[in-house]
C-alpha cells in the first residue's frame, strides 16, 4: 500500500514562535523524500504533524487526497520510526511488532505471517523472543523498522533514525533502507540533518531552513544548482567557498573580481543581473592546487585534510580569505607551502544580496 501526501499552506506555532510558515509540498506515491536542514528548522515538526503527533495551526495535510490533519495518529495509516526507536521496553520484539495490529483486531494468523515476513526481510527472526534491553543499537533499529513494516502503512516516516548508530552501522543501514524502499515501493519521508544520508537515499530532497522550504529537488540538482546561498553552503562537504566579488560582463557572461584583484570568468549569463555586490560560490573540487602563480590566485597552506582519494587543501589568500581547494590523494603539498589556485570558473555560482542563486549553463551537467 502506498500513497501520495500533500501539504497545503501549513503553519505551526509554539506560543509566539512560528516554526513553519505557510509551507506547501506535494509528495507523489512511492517517492523517497528527505527533509534536510539544520537543527531547529522545523523538519521534525513537519514530520510529526504528518504523523499526528503535533497539531496543525492552519493549512491542510492530505494523504491520497483525503484530509488527515484532523484524524488521530493511529487512523492516518502512517508508520513512524523514531530517533530513539521508542520500542516498548517490557514487551518482546514479537509483541512490539504485534502491538499495533492487535489494537485494531487483526487476526492472529495474519499478524504472525506479517511478523515472520518482516523478520525474514530484516534478519531479526532469532530476536523475536528477546526484550529491547537485550538488543544492540543496530538490532533495536531493525526492530523499530520491522514494527513499521508489519503495519503495511500508506507511508513510512523516519525521524533521524540513523543518528544513534555508529559510523559503520549507519552506512550499512543506509544501504539497507534504500533496498527496503525498492522492495516495498512505499512512500517514505526521512528527516535528517546529515546531507550524506539525504544525498544517498532521496529521490527528492526538501531543504528546509528558518520556517520555510529553501529548495526541492533531486540530490544532484540540489548539489549542482542550489537555489539559494543557504542551500549552497549547507549541502556538500566541505562547504562551498564563498568570495565577495564585483561583477562585470564580457561576451554576455559574468566575470567576477575580488578587491584583491582575483579575476574569475564564469559561465553565468548576465541577463537580469543588476550591478552591485555579489558572492561567488565554488566547490572545493573546482579549485585545483597548482605551483605558485605570482598573482592574486596564490596563498599559503593553512591546513591539510588527507581523505585518501583526494586531499583537501585550506589555502589562505594574501587578503586573508580562506579557500578550500582539492589536490590528488598523494599530494606533496605541506602546511606552510605557497601554492597557486586554478579556479574552474565555468562551475561557479553567483549569489545576490538576497541569497538567490545564479548558475552557468554548464553547472547543471555536473
Amino acid at each position: 500500500m502506498t500513497a501520495s501526501i500533500d501539504i497545503k499552506n501549513v503553519t505551526k506555532r509554539f506560543g509566539s514562535l512560528t516554526v513553519l510558515d505557510e509551507l506547501s509540498l506535494s509528495i507523489p506515491a512511492n517517492e523517497f523524500v528527505v527533509f534536510l536542514g539544520p537543527s531547529g528548522c522545523g523538519k521534525s515538526t513537519l514530520l510529526r504533524m504528518i504523523a499526528g503527533l503535533e497539531s496543525v495551526d492552519s493549512g491542510e495535510i492530505l494523504i491520497n487526497g483525503e484530509r488527515i490533519d484532523n484524524q488521530p495518529p493511529g487512523q492516518r495509516g502512517v508508520a513512524m520510526v523514531f530517533q530513539s526507536y521508542a520500542l516498548y521496553p517490557h514487551m518482546t520484539v514479537g509483541d512490539n511488532m504485534a502491538f499495533g495490529l492487535k489494537n485494531i483486531s487483526v487476526e492472529r494468523s495474519v499478524i504472525d505471517a506479517r511478523i515472520a515476513e518482516a523478520a525474514r526481510m530484516l534478519e531479526i527472526g532469532h530476536l523475536l523472543d528477546r526484550k529491547p534491553g537485550q538488543l544492540s543499537g543496530g538490532q533495536r533499529q531493525r526492530v523499530a523498522i520491522g514494527r513499521a513494516v508489519v503495519k503495511e502503512p500508506k507511508a513510512f516516516l523516519f525521524d533521524e533514525p540513523l543518528s544513534n548508530l555508529d559510523a559503520a552501522l549507519r552506512t550499512r543501514t543506509r544501504i539497507e533502507l534504500a533496498q527496503l524502499h525498492q522492495r516495498l515501493k512505499s512512500t517514505m519521508i526521512f528527516v535528517t540533518h546529515d546531507q550524506i544520508e539525504a544525498m544517498t537515499l532521496a529521490d527528492r530532497i526538501v531543504v528546509m531552513n528558518n520556517r520555510k522550504i529553501e529548495q526541492i529537488g533531486a540530490p544532484m540538482e540540489i548539489y549542482n544548482r542550489p537555489a539559494t546561498r543557504f542551500v549552497a553552503g549547507f549541502v556538500g562537504a566541505p562547504a562551498m567557498n564563498f568570495l565577495p566579488v564585483k561583477i562585470r560582463v564580457e561576451d554576455g557572461l559574468v566575470t567576477a573580481a575580488t578587491d584583491a584583484g582575483l579575476c574569475i570568468k564564469t559561465a553565468i549569463p548576465s541577463e537580469g543581473l543588476a550591478a552591485g555586490d555579489y558572492e561567488l560560490g565554488l566547490r572545493s573540487e573546482h579549485v585545483r592546487i597548482t605551483p605558485p602563480t605570482g598573482d592574486a590566485a596564490e596563498g599559503v597552506v593553512d591546513v591539510l585534510e588527507r581523505l585518501g582519494e583526494r586531499t583537501l587543501v585550506y589555502v589562505r589568500l594574501n587578503d586573508g580569505q580562506q579557500i578550500v581547494g582539492s589536490d590528488s590523494g598523494d599530494s606533496r603539498v605541506s602546511v606552510g607551502d605557497r601554492v597557486g589556485l586554478a579556479f574552474e570558473g565555468a562551475k561557479a555560482h553567483l549569489f545576490d544580496a538576497t541569497g538567490k542563486a545564479w548558475h552557468g549553463r554548464e553547472s547543471g551537467h555536473g
Partner: protein, 303 residues
C-alpha cells in the same frame, strides 16, 4: 620505578583514585557510632531480653522460649496480630490503588493539577496527633462532620469509633487520608520517568486509552508498584498512634495492634521480657516484608 634498596625491578604502583583509604572512615564514623549505639546494640539487647524474665528493676533468670510460649497462649496478643494484619489488609491495597489513581489523574502540567498534588500531599506533613484530632471531629457521634452529613439526609452515621465491626475501618480511613501523599508522589515520579516517545509510538499503533494504560503505563511502573506496596506494608505494620489516640485499642481490644500490645505490656504492665518477645515477633514480620522488597526490586532485568 625500580626499588633501589632491594634491587627489585618492581613497577611503581599506578595511581588509583578509587583505592580505599582509611581516613575516609572518619566521614562515616559519626553515623556508624549512632547506628551501633542506638540500633544494633538495642536490637541484640532486645533479643537477649526476650529470653529472660525481666521487669523494670531487674532482668531475672534465663527462661528460654518461655516469653514466646506465654505470648502464644495470650488471646490478646493473638488478637493484636490478627488486628495488625487486618489493618494492613485494609490500608495497603487502598493506598496503592488510590495513590496510583491520583497519580494518573494528576500527572499533567496544569496549574490545577499542581494545586491538587500539593493538597493531597499536604496531609502527610501533619503529625499523628493532628490527624486523629481531625478524624475524631469527623467521626464524633451526634455533632461530628459525618453525623451532620448523614443527618442532612435524615440518616444516622455509623459509629466508627465505638462499633466493634467498623472501628478498625475508621482507623484505616484516617490512615489512608494521612498516608496517601507518599504513594502518590512515588507513582508520579515513576510516571514521569516513562519516555514520551513510547506514548507517541502507541498513539501511532492505534492504542486507545485503556490499551495504553494496560500495555504501556502499568508495565512501566510495575517496580514502583511493588516498592509502594512493600514500603506501606512495613510502615502500616507499625500502627500505633492512630489506634492509641482514636480508640485506645478498643472496643474490646479489637483495634489493638502489635505495637500497642508491646506498649501496654512493657511500659504499663512493666513485663519487659514479654514486651521484648512481642517486639521480636513484629521484627520478624517486618523483616519478611523487607526481604520481599529486596528480592523483588533486585530483579531489574525483569522490569
Amino acid at each position: 620505578m625500580a626499588d633501589p634498596v632491594n634491587g627489585n625491578a618492581r613497577r611503581a604502583e599506578s595511581v588509583d583514585i578509587y583505592a580505599p583509604q582509611w581516613r575516609n572512615f572518619l566521614f562515616v564514623a559519626p553515623y556508624l557510632f549512632i547506628f551501633a549505639a542506638f540500633l544494633v546494640f538495642p536490637l541484640f539487647w532486645g533479643i537477649w531480653l526476650s529470653f529472660h524474665k525481666a521487669d523494670t528493676f531487674s532482668s531475672g533468670p534465663f527462661i528460654g522460649f518461655g516469653n514466646y510460649a506465654r505470648l502464644f497462649r495470650d488471646g490478646i496478643f493473638l488478637q493484636s496480630i490478627w488486628n495488625t494484619f487486618y489493618f494492613v489488609f485494609l490500608t495497603v491495597p487502598a493506598l496503592a490503588l488510590i495513590g496510583l489513581f491520583l497519580a494518573l489523574c494528576l500527572n499533567r502540567q496544569t496549574r490545577s493539577a499542581a494545586v491538587l498534588r500539593t493538597l493531597f500531599f499536604s496531609s502527610s506533613v501533619l503529625s499523628v496527633t493532628i490527624v486523629t484530632l481531625i478524624w475524631r471531629i469527623v467521626y464524633i457521634p451526634d455533632m461530628g462532620l459525618l453525623s451532620m452529613i448523614y443527618g442532612f439526609f435524615g440518616a444516622k452515621a455509623p459509629a466508627f469509633l465505638s462499633d466493634p465491626d467498623i472501628a478498625m475501618i475508621g482507623i484505616a480511613i484516617a490512615t489512608i487520608w494521612w498516608c496517601i501523599g507518599l504513594p502518590m508522589m512515588l507513582f508520579l515520579s515513576a510516571l514521569q520517568q516513562i519516555p514520551q516517545d513510547i506514548y507517541e509510538a502507541a498513539a501511532l499503533d492505534n492504542a486507545n486509552r485503556w490499551q495504553t494504560l494496560r500495555s504501556i503505563t502499568l508495565p512501566s511502573i510495575k517496580r514502583t508498584f511493588v516498592l509502594v506496596v512493600i514500603i506501606q506494608i512495613v510502615f502500616q505494620f507499625q500502627l500505633f498512634g492512630q489506634a492509641w489516640l482514636m480508640t485506645k485499642g478498643g472496643p474490646n481490644n479489637l483495634t489493638k495492634p502489635i505495637v500497642l500490645y508491646i506498649y501496654n505490656t512493657a511500659f504499663q504492665r512493666w513485663d519487659i521480657g514479654l514486651g521484648a518477645a512481642a517486639s521480636e515477633i513484629l521484627f520478624l514480620l517486618i523483616l519478611v516484608a523487607a526481604m520481599a522488597q529486596f528480592l523483588l526490586t533486585r530483579r531489574k532485568a525483569d522490569a
